[in-house]
């Protein structure tokens, strides 16, 4: 991605150059529509940006640009040559009159987001031409002067006066003899201040120029003639000027022994144009350099890309190959470039799908993406590749180039296949787990059913016997049948609690929520253990806060929790001890504490009390009295309501405190 950014910067840079160049510049796409135009183009050719970009070049400025020579150049010459220099075009524009232009064009690949663009530099040389023509004329005229000087000095004088170029004749004391009209015009001096004056004194001594002195006093006496002596001078009246001086010493004309003819060419404007041209040339060079750099950059991109890349000519012979291509496909450069792609690596690349792609598909489509090819290479084994190709016109000195990017997706495919397999296995596993859960659920239901069926007889018949429905029992019989009934009921409790535990753990326990009048419910529940408390002479303390709110919970489950905890407290507290229950509001919950002064829990047993079937050995409890599931089940039921249950004990015989919370508003959403 950073490479792409760099390329964009190049493009911006190029565009920047185009805009600063004085020379009008225009970029066209391959349909000859304007992509960008330099500022100077608008200024020189008086066209507006909104009428320009996207337009066919011939349509610009109200079809003023529909110039036969330009058509010839863009349509006939450029496609063949890709570049041309100094193509001269003369055209009469409706807005700016007759112009002579020098056109320079370059065809550039793949910049400014276009496949092919034409960079057209337009140099308006109309004025330069005029100057050049003028110079040529002057030179010719000078030649005429020279020729005729001996014979016809009058004629010479008239010539001097008609010449556009400022001309001045001096006598040997460097005083002005005659001056051409153009001299007055150009240098803003008056005839009456000129003739007879020392040249240095002209125009208020403006002409006292060291270089001129050197020329007239040192050089000319020795050489009699000199050409194109360049003098730069800052004139008070007309500013800094660059002049080209040409001088001749002529014997015996105009009635003088020796006359100096001095032609002064003001080349300031030309110099400026030349300087501008030079600058433009330099800038064009920079553009060219940038273009070259972009091309180099493109090549370096090819070489740095991880993806193997290969460029083929239209005969499918290898032009260039990226480093990674050599590395991935274990071929050597010397065996690669110039070879037919199918012959690479000992004909390993003769792949039917690749032939199909390069010979059938690409010629029709010019581009294709993500064409998957699987092939068994002799050197590197079976590979799955993703091919992307582009057909590109006129790069790397070839008419048509195929750029082929080869992505080796073998490993990715393997990973995908592995993922697919893993997914299948997971699906199977999930189904298996689901089946196992169903089997477990069915097993529990069956177990429940099978255990209850005989218990129905055991409990039923012993109850009927105990009730003496069919006749009286003696004391021993009655006691025995009571023992059977008690054991039967204990077994039923055990079955129910085991099944409840299994249900909670399987997430199958459903709560039947309703609004519970907490204060009356708790009072009522303490009555359930009242008999046991009285029997053991235990003191029971009930503290229910006045502001205890009603809660949303499953009534049967709350009763079960409270009964389990209260009966535990009674069971594990010796005669004469104390048990108690406190209920308070605690934020959005109620907190209930059930405590006793009984046997407590040794620190080492704290972790075991929730495991199930663990009962503290105590002289006050009998095995038949509990299932060992009351506390673990109560904890699960509290948690099912969204509360927490914790047990605290300072140690053996230090009593136990069970604290649990229940939310006022159920978070179960059932």
């Amino acid at each position: 991605m950073s490479q792409k950014r760099t390329l964009t910067k190049y493009q911006e840079y190029s565009e920047g150059i185009i805009n600063t160049v004085r020379e009008p510049l225009i970029t066209l796409d391959q349909d000859l529509r304007v992509v960008t135009v330099s500022r100077s183009f608008y200024e020189v050719f008086k066209v507006k940006p909104e009428e320009t970009v996207g337009q066919l070049i011939y349509d610009l400025g109200n079809k003023q640009w529909d110039i036969p020579r330009l058509r010839e150049l863009l349509e006939d010459i450029l496609p063949k040559k890709a570049t041309f220099d100094n193509y001269e075009v003369e055209h009469d524009f409706a807005t700016i009159g007759r112009r002579i232009m020098l056109l320079n064009a370059r065809q550039i690949q793949g910049v400014l987001g276009k496949e092919r663009i034409i960079l057209l530099a337009i140099e308006d040389i109309t004025e330069r031409r005029e100057i050049e023509n003028g110079l040529e004329k002057t030179r010719k005229e000078l030649a005429v002067i020279k020729q005729s000087a001996d014979e016809a000095s009058e004629f010479a004088e008239s010539v001097i006066n008609t010449v556009r170029e400022p001309l001045i004749t001096l006598d040997q004391d460097l005083r002005v003899i005659t001056v051409s009209r153009s001299f007055y015009e150009v240098f803003k001096v008056k005839p009456e201040e000129t003739v007879g004056q020392l040249i240095y004194d002209l125009g208020n001594k403006q002409w006292d120029i060291p270089r001129l002195r050197e020329l007239l006093e040192d050089i000319l006496p020795k050489k009699a003639t000199f050409d194109d002596y360049e003098v730069e001078h800052d004139f008070a009246t007309i500013g800094r000027r660059i002049m080209l001086l040409n001088a001749r010493q002529i014997q015996g004309v105009l009635g003088k022994e020796r006359v100096i003819l001095l032609a002064i060419e003001d080349i300031t404007g030309r110099k400026e144009i030349e300087a501008g041209l030079e600058k433009t040339r330099k800038e064009l060079e920079v553009i060219k350099k940038t273009a070259d750099e972009a091309s180099e950059f493109a090549e370096s991109v090819i070489n740095t890309v991880r993806e193997p890349l290969i460029t083929l000519d239209q005969d499918l012979r290898v032009i260039t190959v990226s480093r990674s291509f050599y590395e991935v496909f274990k071929v050597k450069p010397e065996e690669t470039v110039g070879q037919l792609i199918y012959d690479l690596g000992n004909k390993q690349w003769d792949i039917p799908r690749l032939r199909e792609l390069l010979e059938d598909i690409l010629p029709k489509k010019a581009t294709f993406d993500d064409y998957e090819v699987e092939h068994d290479f002799a050197t590197i084994g079976r590979r799955i590749m993703l091919l992307n190709a582009r057909q590109i016109q006129g790069v790397l000195g070839k008419e048509r180039v195929i750029l082929l990017a080869i992505e080796d997706i073998t490993e990715r495919k393997e990973i995908e296949a592995g993922l697919g397999k893993a997914h299948e296995e997971l699906t199977e596993l999930a189904a298996e787990l689901k089946r196992a859960a169903r089997v477990k659920s069915e097993f529990l239901a069956n177990m429940s059913h099978e255990l209850r069926t005989p218990l129905n007889s055991i409990n039923g018949f012993s109850e009927v016997l105990y009730d003496e429905t069919f006749g009286p029992l003696n004391v021993k019989q009655k006691q025995y049948v009571n023992n059977v009934l008690t054991s039967g009921k204990h077994l039923l409790l055990l079955i129910n609690q085991i099944l409840d535990m299994a249900k909670v753990e399987a997430g199958k326990m459903k709560l039947a929520l309703s609004s519970l009048p907490t204060k009356s419910l708790l009072n009522e529940l303490t009555m359930l253990v009242a008999d046991m408390v009285t029997k053991k002479k235990i003191e029971m303390l009930i503290e229910i806060a006045e502001d205890l709110p009603d809660i949303e919970a499953d009534e049967l489950k709350v009763k079960e929790i409270m009964y389990n905890l209260l009966s535990n407290a009674v069971k594990f507290t010796p005669e004469g001890g104390k048990i108690g229950m406190r209920a308070n509001k605690a934020g959005s919950e109620i907190e209930i504490v059930v405590w006793d002064t009984g046997v407590g829990i040794a620190a080492e047993n704290m972790g075991k009390i929730f495991e199930g079937f663990f009962r503290v050995d105590t002289p006050y409890s009998r095995v038949t009295e509990g299932t060992g599931l009351g506390l673990p089940l109560s904890k699960k039921l509290v948690e099912l309501h969204g509360g927490k249950l914790t047990v605290e004990s300072e140690g053996l015989n230090k009593g136990t405190l069970v604290r649990f919370t229940l939310p006022v508003v159920s978070r179960m959403g059932v």
């Binding site: 529990l444 059913h449 209850r452 129905n456 007889s457 039923g460 018949f461 009927v464 429905t469 039923l492």
Partner: protein, 121 residues
């Protein structure tokens, strides 16, 4: 008038327990150990109530109920299912049967006959 009940249970002990409890409460009781016999007896005796187990050897009690409901002679007889299946399985099918009730095992012998009587109109 003496209330008449058909009691169906494949467990002989439980069948005896239910029969005795109902007879003590003054019912005339007809017993069956499978659904087919129960249907035959019900059609013949047209009892005031049918007390039926759900898991029976020949068909489910709910299927027997569907057959009894389709027969004009027996369609109006209330059916009380007495079952050890208390974990929610098959509860839907029982609820969907009109004029029916549910008692879980183990039963409370002290209230059983009274509960059954409440289903008779």
């Amino acid at each position: 008038m003496t209330k008449r009940a058909v009691v169906v249970d494949d467990n002989a002990n439980n069948l005896m327990l239910e029969k005795d409890l109902l007879e003590v409460a003054g019912f005339e009781v007809f017993v069956a150990e499978n659904a087919s016999d129960a249907i035959t007896i019900a059609r013949k005796e047209k009892p005031d109530i049918i007390v039926m187990d759900v898991r029976l050897p020949d068909m489910r009690g709910t299927e027997a109920a569907r057959i009894l409901r389709q027969d004009k002679e027996t369609s109006g007889i209330p059916i009380v299912f007495v079952t050890a299946s208390v974990m929610g399985e098959g509860r839907e099918e029982i609820i969907n049967i009109t004029n029916s009730g549910f008692i879980g095992k183990p039963i409370n012998t002290r209230t059983f006959a009274k509960e059954i009587s409440q289903f008779i109109k």
